[in-house]
């Protein structure tokens, strides 16, 4: 079994508002393995972004423990340097492409992170070129970010994170503001990072068709994990997914609706071709029965 690189035990986060304690994450237990591609789903306010920020050490938990790379994180005990070192290993890409680029030239933007780490110039050059190659934006290295589309900007933001060579990248609704083509590009980039470079990916999204491409799907509601499994396992629990304010793929819902009418259809079809397979299998089965009777 692969090494567990993120582990939470009864992790909790709450904030105070007008003297009241507002819980966001409650006693959450989670293990994420090295090299996995995990999609996190949940409606707005479910706590999924807070969880991401806890894992990235942007927020400090109010209860429970968090271990990263086999090491328990204790912000009181650890030196700032040790915390920075951990944070560098977990990159984060945010929702709005316009809020993440700081430089006026694409390659300078990608170099911003490595420069701040004090990496030698020749090494920075290499990292920037490699990162732009991975996201397919090398041809735009000398462009100004404002001439790029949203999807292209987001790919530059990802390159800026790749250049820091993190072990884990958290995408916090990084596709939410993009058009279908931009989303497809980002998803292809995510899959490439995960498969070819072994980067552990946590992808927070509202899009079910993106989640079905992950190896594992976690559904969060009210700060708790309500479903955790393969996309097939999770989406066949249509009622729980809907109760959490989310959608299931149209084909999964269609199969469920047909089942409700008494037809023996599979509950876990996710794609249109699986749906067509199911319809075809049903027709063949009933035809055979008739021939035998």
């Amino acid at each position: 079994m692969a090494e567990t690189i993120i582990r939470t035990e009864n992790l909790s986060f709450a904030y105070e508002e007008e003297g009241n304690r507002i819980p966001v994450i409650e006693n959450l237990n989670l293990e994420i393995e090295k090299g996995s591609f995990v999609a996190v789903l949940g409606h707005n306010g479910s706590g999924k972004s807070t969880l991401a920020k806890l894992i990235n050490l942007i927020l400090t938990p109010t209860g429970g423990t968090l271990s990263l790379f086999g090491e328990k994180v204790d912000e009181k005990e650890m030196s700032d340097d040790a915390l920075y070192a951990l944070r560098q290993r977990i990159g984060m890409v945010f929702q709005n492409p316009d809020n993440q680029l700081v430089a006026t030239v694409v390659e300078e933007d990608v170099a911003f992170g490595p420069e701040n780490l004090g990496i030698p110039p020749a090494e920075i050059r290499k990292r920037v070129d490699d990162a732009l190659d991975i996201v397919g934006m090398r041809a735009f290295a000398k462009h100004s970010p404002h001439q790029l589309s949203g999807g292209q900007k987001q790919r530059v933001a990802i390159a800026g994170i790749i250049a820091l060579r993190p072990d884990v990248i958290i995408f916090d609704e990084a596709t939410a503001m993009l058009d279908p083509r931009g989303r497809a590009d980002i998803l292809a980039t995510i899959e490439k990072l995960n498969r070819e470079f072994g980067t552990t990916v946590i992808h927070i999204t509202h899009y079910m068709e993106e989640a079905i491409r992950a190896g594992r799907v976690i559904v969060i509601d009210d700060g708790k994990i309500v479903l955790d499994g393969t996309p097939r396992e999770v989406f066949s629990a249509v009622d729980t997914v809907k109760a959490a304010g989310l959608d299931v793929p149209q084909v999964t819902e269609l199969m469920l609706e047909i089942r409700k009418d008494g037809f023996d259809f599979p509950a876990d079809a996710l794609t249109f071709s699986e749906g067509a397979d199911a319809v075809e299998a049903y027709i063949l089965k009933t035809r055979n029965k008739k021939e035998h009777s």
Binding site: N44, A176, P249, Q250, L254, T271, V279, E280, I283, T286
Partner: protein, 287 residues
């Protein structure tokens, strides 16, 4: 009467510079009144340019834009009046909230129209109700609200001007499924209650299918297809050729047809697909 028309309209950004870009190219479009028309297309297909041409934010490089039968640039000094007739809600409108309270933010538009206090109050209350905001929100700061609530405040601000044509650019972008359904069904309700014309720009084929009466597909600076959702999604292969996605159930029906089953392919909702699949398998079992 039609709500709005574009005749031979072109719009070119940064003319006479190296960045010259033709956003819409000699287009003729008619928008029908008192229905919801969805405008769909890729980034750069010209759909946002069309919306800004309709409300007079952009002046066409050539051609005529008419609203309610009148050329809006006939008297350029009166263009401000067009912006009250054609209300435009931009993408991510919540970034444009600026007032101290929700009430003041919604009242901003009607105030600029020079209406009296009691009329402004009436309009703020009606608009808030249309988007599902209760009066206990009025004294709150818009910045204390959730993303979905902020967006509703911003949309109410435009509705309060009572535009006869309301244009919304990606009203559901970035919202979760529940928030998306909430906002889109409010828009449908608004259209019914006010009997006005609504144009909605979106990337989401599923949303378009579920909430629009007619769909206009833009591609490469030109109108490409126009019709009811069934007419549009019946041409799935044409949509896919220009790189637009179609709903998953539409793909399923096309796949069944490809495998030799006699099914309709102009299907775009789960409900329609269920009826069609059950007809297919039920019919097969019976014979």
């Amino acid at each position: 009467m039609n709500a709005a028309e574009l005749r031979g309209v072109s719009y070119i950004y940064s003319e006479n510079t190296p960045f010259r870009k033709v956003a819409v190219n000699d287009i003729d479009i008619t928008f029908e009144e008192k229905i919801i028309t969805g405008i769909i297309g890729h980034t750069g297909s010209g759909k946002s340019t069309v919306s800004q041409l309709l409300n007079g934010l952009l002046k066409p490089t050539s051609g005529t834009v008419s609203v309610e039968g009148k050329d809006i640039w006939e008297e350029p000094k009166k263009i401000r009046q067009v912006r009250f007739t054609v209300g435009l809600v931009f993408q991510y409108p919540e970034y444009q909230l600026f007032e101290e309270t929700v009430y003041k933010d919604i009242a901003f538009g009607p105030k600029n129209m020079g209406l009296d206090e009691s009329e402004i109050d009436r309009r703020v209350r009606t608009a808030a109700e249309l988007v599902g905001l209760t009066p206990d929100f009025f004294e709150k700061s818009p910045f204390d609200l959730s993303g979905g609530q902020k967006r509703r405040v911003a949309i109410a601000g435009v509705m309060a001007m009572r535009p006869r044509i309301l244009i919304l650019d990606e009203p559901a972008a970035g919202l979760d499924p529940r928030g998306r359904d909430e906002i889109l069904s409010r828009i449908v309700e608004y259209q019914k209650k006010t009997d006005s014309t609504v144009l909605m720009i979106s990337h989401s084929m599923e949303d378009m299918a579920a909430y629009c009466d007619k769909i206009l597909v833009m591609n490469e600076a030109k109108p490409f297809l126009y019709g009811t959702p069934a007419e549009i999604f019946g041409q799935a292969e044409v949509l896919e050729r220009v790189g637009l996605s179609v709903p998953q159930v539409t793909k399923l029906m096309r796949e069944l047809r490809r495998r030799g089953y006699d099914v309709r392919t102009d299907i775009y909702t789960v409900e329609q697909a269920k009826a069609e699949v059950e007809r297919l398998v039920g019919g097969d079992a019976a014979c």
